[in-house]
C-alpha cells in the first residue's frame, strides 16, 4: 500500500479520543517505564504479602539487625521484624494516603481556582481564603485538628480507618493552595480567549463553559500539581508519623519506617534505604506517568 492510500485511510477511519490518547501515551518512553515501575510497586504491596508470608509485626529477638538473607531479603530491624514485610505493609498505607490526599487537594484546588477565575465576584474572597491557608502555620494547625478529632473519628471508624480519614483530610485541606492559584491564573487567561466568547455567543451555559472549554485546557497544570501532590502527601504523612500524630507506632508506613530506621543508619543502613527507595521510585514513576498523560491529553502534542 502506498503512503497516500494509507493517509487517506487514516483520514476516513474513525479515531476515538481515548484511542489516540493511549497511542500517544505508549509512544512516551518515560511514561511507559514509569508505568511499569509503578505497576511493580503496586503489585508488590498488594500481592507481595501473599508470596512473602511473614507477619510484619512478628518479633524475632534472635535475628535482630540481621543483614540480607533468604529468610529476610531486606534484613530485619532492631527487634527482629522482617523489613520486606514491613515495607510491603507500609506501602499499602502510604500509597493509599498519597492518592487519596492528592485527590482531595486537587478537587478543592481545581474547584476554588476555577470559581475564582471564572466568577469575578468570588475572585477576591476565594483568593484571600487561599492566602489565609498559605499563611497558616501548618504544623500547629495539624496538631490542633488531630487533637480535636482523633478520638471522635477513632470511635466512629475504628483506630486505623479513623486516623486514615483524618490524615487524608488534613493533608488534602492544607495542600490545595498552589493548585488553586495556578488554575485561577490559567482560567483568567483562558476566559478572555475568543473560543470562550464564541461559546457565550452560542448560548452555552456557564457550567458547560467550565467543563467543556476551561477544565480541559487547564488539565496540564492540574496534572503536574497532582503528581507533585502525591509525593508531598507521602512525605507529609511521614512527618506526621514522626511527630507521633500519624498512625499508631506499630502500624508501619514508609515514612514511619524511615524515621524509625534513621537512628540505626550506621548499623543497618538498609533500614532507611528500602523505604526511601520505595518513596523515591513511587514519586519518580508517578511524575513520569503524569508527564506522559499531560502530553497524551494535549492534541497539539499528540501525533507528533
Amino acid at each position: 500500500m502506498t503512503d497516500a492510500s494509507l493517509a487517506a485511510q487514516g483520514m476516513t477511519a474513525h479515531r476515538s479520543l481515548w484511542g489516540d490518547v493511549w497511542r500517544q501515551f505508549r509512544a512516551h518512553r518515560g511514561a511507559m517505564v514509569g508505568s511499569a515501575v509503578f505497576l511493580f510497586i503496586v503489585l508488590g504491596v498488594t500481592v507481595g504479602p501473599y508470596i512473602h508470608t511473614v507477619d510484619p509485626q512478628y518479633l524475632n529477638m534472635r535475628a535482630r539487625n540481621a543483614g540480607i538473607s533468604w529468610d529476610h531479603p531486606f534484613g530485619t530491624d532492631n527487634v527482629g521484624r522482617d523489613m520486606l514485610a514491613q515495607v510491603m505493609a507500609g506501602g499499602r498505607v502510604s500509597l493509599a494516603v498519597g492518592f487519596a490526599a492528592m485527590g482531595v487537594s486537587i478537587v478543592i484546588g481545581a474547584l476554588v481556582g476555577v470559581l475564582a477565575g471564572y466568577i469575578r465576584r468570588l475572585d477576591g474572597p476565594l483568593m484571600r481564603l487561599t492566602d489565609l491557608f498559605l499563611a497558616l502555620p501548618i504544623l500547629p494547625l495539624l496538631l490542633v485538628i488531630l487533637l480535636l478529632f482523633r478520638d471522635t473519628l477513632r470511635t466512629l471508624f475504628g483506630p486505623e480507618a479513623g486516623i486514615f480519614l483524618l490524615i487524608v483530610f488534613v493533608i488534602g485541606i492544607t495542600s490545595w493552595m498552589q493548585t488553586a492559584r495556578i488554575v485561577r491564573g490559567e482560567v483568567l487567561a483562558l476566559k478572555e480567549r475568543e473560543f470562550v466568547l464564541a461559546a457565550k455567543s452560542i448560548g452555552t451555559r456557564g457550567h458547560r463553559i467550565i467543563t467543556r472549554h476551561l477544565l480541559p485546557n487547564v488539565l496540564s497544570p492540574i496534572m503536574v500539581s497532582a503528581t507533585i501532590g502525591i509525593a508531598n502527601a507521602i512525605i507529609t504523612e511521614s512527618a506526621l508519623s514522626f511527630l507521633g500524630l500519624g498512625f499508631p507506632p506499630d502500624f508501619p508506613t514508609w515514612g514511619r519506617l524511615l524515621f524509625d530506621g534513621k537512628d540505626f543508619m550506621t548499623l543497618t543502613p538498609e533500614r532507611v534505604i528500602w523505604p526511601g527507595l520505595a518513596i523515591s521510585l513511587t514519586v519518580l514513576s508517578v511524575n513520569f506517568i503524569g508527564d506522559g498523560l499531560r502530553d497524551a491529553l494535549d492534541p497539539r502534542i499528540r501525533g507528533r
Partner: protein, 331 residues
C-alpha cells in the same frame, strides 16, 4: 424563522443610541476614577439581507459595538432591537433563546476554536446546546455544514491545529451557521488571514449570504474589502459613527472630513493617479476615549475645524441624498 418571510428593506436590527462604557478603577480601594467611553451613542439600522460595513481605525469601538449588538458585552445605555425584540434588556434565559438567531464570526481563527475539541464537536456545540438535533442527525448536519463552507466532511475528527488559518476561519463560519441564524456579526473575519485567502473567505461569505439570506454586520479596517462586500458603510471615530451612507455614495463623495482622510489613505493601483492625488494626512493621535474632546470628537485633528466645533456637538443629520453625517459643515 419560517413565519417572517424575508422582505427586502425590512429592518432586522435596529440599534439606537447604544453606549458601552467601561469603568476605570484605581487606587488602594479600587475607586472608580473615570470611564472609557468605548461606544458612545451609536445608532444604525440593518435591513434584512443587506451587509452593513463598519469601518474605523484601531480602538475606535468597532469590535465593542459588534459585541454589544450580540449582548456579549452589556450595553450601558441604548436599545438593540433584533426583529422587534429589545435584547439590551432581556433576561439571560430569554436572551439564550434569541442566541440562535444571531451569531458571530471572530477575528482570530487561532483563538476562536478550542484546541482540545475536534472540529466535529466544535461545529456540533451550538446544535447540542440548543438541543435541536441528536445522534446521527446531528452528525449529518455537521457534515452538511462542513461541506457548505468548503471543507471535507471527513475532517470532523481532526483538531483545529491541523488546519491552516483559512480553513480554521471556515470552521468558525460553519459553527456560526449551525443554528440557521438571520444575523451574523463578522468581527474582522479576514484581518488575520493571508491576502490570497482573504478573497476566498469573503467570497464564501457572499455566497452564503445569497444562498441563506443572511444579514451581515461586517466590521473591518480594510476599506477596499468593505467596498467589495458591503451595501452600506458606517464610519466610526472614537466611539461614534461620523458618517453612514450607501457604498457608492460614501466611496464616491465622502462628506465627513474624517471619511475623506480615511479614503485618501487607500492607495490606488495606478502610479500616475497615485502620484498626483491629494492625500489628507491627519496630524496627532486619536484622543483617549476616557477623556474625549468637547463638541465634535474629531475637531482636534480636523483640517476644517472652527471655534463652533469645540462648543457644539454636531447633530446626526440626514442629508438630501439619504446619507447621515455628523459634521456642521457637510452639505
Amino acid at each position: 424563522m419560517a413565519f417572517d418571510s424575508p422582505k427586502a428593506g425590512e429592518t432586522l436590527v435596529r440599534v439606537a443610541d447604544l453606549k458601552v462604557h467601561f469603568p476605570i478603577h484605581a487606587g488602594l480601594i479600587r475607586r472608580q476614577v473615570g470611564t472609557v467611553r468605548a461606544v458612545d451613542g451609536v445608532s444604525f439600522d440593518v435591513a434584512r439581507g443587506e451587509t452593513l460595513g463598519l469601518v474605523g481605525e484601531s480602538g475606535c469601538g468597532k469590535s465593542t459595538t459588534g459585541r454589544a449588538v450580540l449582548r456579549l458585552v452589556d450595553a450601558t445605555a441604548g436599545r438593540i432591537e433584533m426583529a422587534g425584540t429589545d435584547i439590551a434588556s432581556l433576561g439571560s434565559e430569554a436572551l439564550r433563546r434569541m442566541r440562535p438567531r444571531m451569531q458571530m464570526i471572530f477575528q482570530d481563527p487561532h483563538a476562536s476554536l478550542n484546541p482540545r475539541m475536534t472540529v466535529g464537536s466544535i461545529v456540533a456545540e451550538p446544535l447540542s446546546e440548543h438541543g435541536t438535533l441528536r445522534g446521527s442527525a446531528r452528525q449529518r448536519r455537521v457534515e452538511e455544514l462542513l461541506d457548505a463552507v468548503g471543507l471535507n466532511p471527513s475532517f470532523a475528527n481532526r483538531y483545529p491545529h491541523e488546519f491552516s488559518g483559512g480553513q480554521r476561519q471556515r470552521i468558525g463560519i460553519a459553527r456560526a451557521l449551525a443554528l440557521d441564524p438571520d444575523f451574523i456579526v463578522c468581527d474582522e473575519p479576514i484581518a488575520a488571514l493571508d491576502v490570497s485567502i482573504q478573497a476566498q473567505v469573503v467570497n464564501l461569505l457572499e455566497e452564503l449570504q445569497e444562498r441563506l439570506g443572511l444579514t451581515y454586520l461586517f466590521i473591518s479596517h480594510d476599506l477596499s474589502m468593505v467596498r467589495h462586500i458591503a451595501d452600506r458603510v458606517a464610519v466610526m471615530y472614537l466611539g461614534k459613527i461620523v458618517e453612514l451612507a450607501d457604498r457608492e455614495a460614501l466611496y464616491g463623495a465622502p462628506k465627513h472630513p474624517y471619511t475623506q482622510a480615511l479614503l485618501s489613505a487607500v492607495p490606488i493601483p495606478n502610479p500616475k493617479v497615485e502620484a498626483t492625488r491629494r492625500h489628507i494626512i491627519l496630524k496627532g493621535d486619536v484622543p483617549s476615549p476616557a477623556n474625549p474632546p468637547s463638541g465634535c470628537r474629531f475637531r482636534t485633528r480636523c483640517p476644517i475645524a472652527e471655534a463652533r466645533c469645540a462648543a457644539e456637538e454636531p447633530a446626526w443629520r440626514k442629508l438630501d441624498d439619504g446619507r447621515h453625517v455628523a459634521c456642521h459643515f457637510a452639505t
